[in-house]
């Protein structure tokens, strides 16, 4: 959270109350949240924000690398590390409990980059989503 403030300050970006509350809700959740789940969470303390309000806050947070979108779930998650924009992110999505972890992505990124370049492809955003079963659910 303090990191979020630092990032925004560094870029002269404004972490407004709405944006802050969206980020707080995502930080408080171990699983990714959909836009309408965020509406409900924020709506419990005050007026229900319109969908577009949430999407705009999410756009802002994503532009600043504080939030990632989980494509396979149409949901969003706060990003703990402060990634370089060029660094890859590997998400490990548990298909049972829905929790999302992050794996160190450097070695994975290298092989992906080489595979992509072998096909004449210039990769841009190495955001990799791997579904499976997390250690906790596997034990159960």
């Amino acid at each position: 959270m303090a990191q979020a403030e630092a990032i925004c300050a560094a870029g002269a970006q404004r972490l407004t109350p709405i944006r802050r509350r969206v980020l707080e809700a995502l930080l408080a959740s171990h699983a990714p949240l959909g836009a309408y789940e965020l509406i409900e969470k924020l709506g419990k303390r005050g007026a229900r924000p319109a969908p577009i309000t949430i999407y705009r806050a999410l756009d802002f947070l994503r532009d600043n690398g504080l939030v990632h979108r989980i494509e396979s779930r149409n949901a969003f998650i706060a990003c703990g590390h402060n990634h370089n924009s060029t660094d890859p992110v590997v998400f490990l999505i548990c298909e049972r409990c829905g929790s999302v972890g992050e794996a160190a992505g450097s070695p994975v990124a290298d092989t992906i980059r080489s595979a992509a370049r072998a096909a004449g492809f210039t990769p841009k955003t190495p955001v990799i989503e791997i579904t499976g079963v997390c250690s906790h659910c596997r034990a159960a």
Copy 2:
């Protein structure tokens, strides 16, 4: 297409006219198609199928490994190779022209598997989507 028939025959699965036409439409397209694009394409020759009809056909084709869903686009694409269900698939999605290519995934899969296991995670469906710029668009 012949391969599709072979796969269905092997599993005692029925490649009905609707399923066949959906697959043909996807095979004829170099870019992934959304469900509603498929409706329009099939609607030009006969009655417009309902959305659910398309989704059911797509479910069938996906279950049989003939079609993949591109999560980041909410669209579907025919799968050329006959993957093992355990083999990974790496899609190279051009953000300019929308075309989708496949990269050889074996080396990528190994690094992903090891990275995932290091986190105590059991990966299941290594379907990896990489966005970027394809060689054709890069030249232009």
